[in-house]
Symmetry: C2
Subunit: 488 residues, 2 copies
């Protein structure tokens, strides 16, 4: 027998015995996998989820449980708070957020179906309080539903789509709504009869001719040959925790140091490529340093080591952080006045690099050339007092003069501050979650969604909170449904 391995399809003809059989195999038990399981079961298929960890969750359970939702006039929460939201605006925003990497078909489909998806989530039992929480938050610390979770109200996004808040967060006290979100969906999948096999590591896909018909797993150090009568769904996440893949496909992430994930080893991408799948946009990544915590820090100004601003700071924290990482050198500075300063969270690894009663004093403490940072701030303050930012079009109320000292310069250091990241590139899939080959044709029997694919959150520079869970849950559902209807 050929030794099964990640990089080759294993021929069905060499399977010594089928150790299990199901209609739909789902590899990975995060948000993508569990939604795929529910929809495959709803379509009448038998389903088995194989998970390499000892339980459900994946990276999704580490998240805030926030899902990017809108369009079709607005959700209940949006409308209650006075926000109309058209499908066209949502689609336009999604395309701008994906930048050069967006998939138009996925953006259009998700924009059209987003409210139906929200209803589906509620139907599974996900609770939403329905209220709006104004301000700038990474996640609500109370049970609120609706927050601004992207760069909707900031240039250039506000010029291409009418802004609305679209982050919809599960009703859950405090941070970390991802865990209860998964727990509810897991229970639903189990109620529908999905089987779960944990501590199972995928080794290879099994092919019968052109069709994927199963998966080889390693379970209890034994090979396990699992047959899928209808299809295999890859739901394994990105490759933030696979250093070899990062070096080959996304080496800019070595400029920062804090991968987010839960065994995100990129295995689904490798399995998909072995089946002839096409991996795209592999160099794209999300990063953020939690510089808007405390919230008052959102009023600060960022400069690079040349003392130049580089972004309108009213953008989403991840967009600002991603552009920061593009700057020269190993750090950027966030400038604050004492009125807005609060000691940053210790976990952020943000340090005080300089202080002064004037910006000239701060400039000198940072050992910046005279006339750099101080000129930047004089120019900024002059126009902020007039309510405008002629360079980057930052908007009020985040736009406010920082002209009453003392002042503080915080250092966000790419090596030592908490620049968390995960990867965004992955398999190219259709809007039906079919894995496409390099000729653009679906690979029979193979489906994928979530961060082992390139989907709605395609571009770190345009990321918005809730895009990844939107992508995982929505296209995970489509993967499960499509697989269940597959005929060999």
């Amino acid at each position: 027998m050929t030794e099964p391995n990640l990089h080759q399809l294993f021929p069905a003809s060499e399977v010594p015995q089928w150790d299990s059989e199901t209609d739909v195999i789902i590899i990975g038990f995060g948000a993508t996998g569990v939604c795929a399981a529910i929809e495959a079961a709803n379509a009448g298929a038998s389903v088995t989820i194989f998970e390499r960890n000892s339980g459900s969750g994946g990276a999704s359970a580490l998240s805030g449980g926030e899902i990017y939702i809108g369009g079709s006039g607005g959700s209940d929460a949006q409308r209650a708070a006075g926000f109309e939201d058209s499908t066209e605006d949502l689609a336009a925003y999604l395309k701008a957020a994906g930048g050069p990497y967006h998939d138009p078909a996925k953006c259009d489909l998700y924009a059209a179906e987003s409210l139906n998806h929200y209803q589906w989530l509620k139907d599974q039992g996900i609770p939403y309080r329905g209220n709006y929480l104004p301000g700038k938050h990474i996640e609500p610390t109370d049970e609120s539903t609706l927050i601004w979770s992207g760069s909707e109200a900031a240039a250039p996004f506000c010029n291409v789509a009418k802004p609305a808040p679209r982050g919809h967060v599960i009703q859950h006290m405090g941070w970390g709504g991802g865990r209860p979100l998964i727990d509810i969906l897991e229970q639903r999948a189990r109620d529908l009869g999905a089987k779960v096999v944990v501590d199972a590591r995928a080794i290879a896909l099994i092919a019968d001719g052109e069709r994927i018909v199963g998966t080889v797993f390693r379970i209890d150090n034994q090979l396990h040959f699992a047959r899928a009568n209808k299809g295999v769904v890859l739901a394994t996440g990105g490759f933030a925790l696979n250093e070899d893949m990062r070096r080959r496909y996304c080496p800019e992430t070595f400029k920062i140091n804090s991968p987010i994930g839960d065994k995100d080893d990129g295995i689904g991408i490798m399995l998909g490529m072995a089946a002839g799948g096409d991996a795209v946009h592999m160099e794209q990544f999300f990063t953020t340093c939690p510089w808007t915590m405390p919230e008052s820090h959102a009023y600060g100004v960022f400069v690079n080591q040349a003392g130049q601003r580089f972004i309108n700071e009213d953008c989403y924290h991840g967009r600002v952080s991603r552009v920061a990482v593009d700057q020269m050198g190993d750090r950027v500075y966030q400038l604050l006045d004492v009125a807005h300063f609060v000691q940053p969270l210790e976990l952020a690894g943000i340090t005080i690099a300089g202080t002064g009663d004037t910006w000239e004093e701060v400039e000198a403490e940072l050992e910046m050339p005279e006339g750099t940072l101080s000129t930047t701030m004089a120019f900024y303050n002059k126009h902020a007092a007039e309510g405008r930012d002629p360079l980057f079009d930052k908007r009020a109320p985040i736009l406010t003069p920082l002209d009453q000292g003392p002042f503080i310069a915080l250092e966000l250091n790419f090596e030592t501050s908490y620049f968390s990241f995960f990867t965004l590139g992955g398999l190219r899939t259709s809007a039906d979650a079919e894995v496409l080959d390099r000729a653009g044709q679906p690979i029979a029997g193979l489906y994928a969604a979530g961060r082992c694919t390139s989907g709605l959150p395609a571009w770190g520079h345009g990321y918005s909170s809730g895009l990844s869970l939107a992508d995982c849950t929505f296209f995970g559902r489509r993967a499960g449904a499509k697989a269940a209807l597959s005929t060999s």
Copy 2:
């Protein structure tokens, strides 16, 4: 019979008849292919070059025929001009030039072997006059040999490796030394018995089990099954002329408009991936707008639409251009005083966007906010007069105050100026030019070099003239030699 296609290996068992047989098949007749042919023939193999065009050349023949050479104490031309050049400095420069995408093994090997490679080129009959041409040139317009062709003397490169000029140009009057370079190498390959088949389009690789044993071509609209007893060398160039591949793998190139190439359709990359090859760094590209022509324009200053400088302008024109394309908006401005201004080449598509007796007037003509560009230039001039650039460490003599008007602002527009580009990503290969699979193992019988691989010129932000031809000729040689020694 299966229809042969780019995306699948064609099984040898289905070959209806072998239409030709040779030891080494080389696909592509540019610099890579011709060097592979010479070395395969030198190793005793029979060789056939298949080329989709009607003659030799490829993108290499469109180049200046400049090859990046140095190390081992310096070439004859370097030493005659007083430049010592250590292997360590060359290796360090190559690694810095490749940025996060460099392949350490290729950089180290090329640095160690570069002078031997130069001798080999001479042995094939490439003439070098041996003299040094000081100044800043895209290509010599006379027969000179040695020019500064990268960012060696500019920060940050000059801080990691002792600078030396390393661009070695074939003796040839005027631009376009690539064509005579290829002609000489072609004659050499033909003298050694290499066969050439033109107007032959590669369709699929042929595999016998795990080994590549031939190629299906389309010639005169007929399928042609070519057997390779020892190996197949992919030498087909990048994918600058394949819009579908650009959209999938390198979409940022749609910000600019002038691909350089000669049917560079990425076919070698697709063939290699179909054989299990690993394509890496596919989002990287080279671009340049010929802003240093006339040469006096090298003394200018670049600003983005916010009126901010973004680079030390004494870097290589391609590095400056690549960072320019990263800037917001659709253009950057090059600022000059009248002493340095000459009407730009018409082909560059560079226009005069504003003029004035003071930088304040230029700023107003460009409709930039008051105090942006003018402050940038006041700061620049103040320090340039002191011989320093505290922001970007630009060095004299390129660093010079621009404080005697009238002044001119040239517009380099990403859409309408001549931002030429080609792609840098491709197959991952060993330093012996073996195509590696996703597990990092060589694919038996398959070799590749040049722009269908990721090689020495891995990163547009660090590109230097001569890197691509160095890569093509050196690793092309290794591909041919290694293929000739292959045993099935």
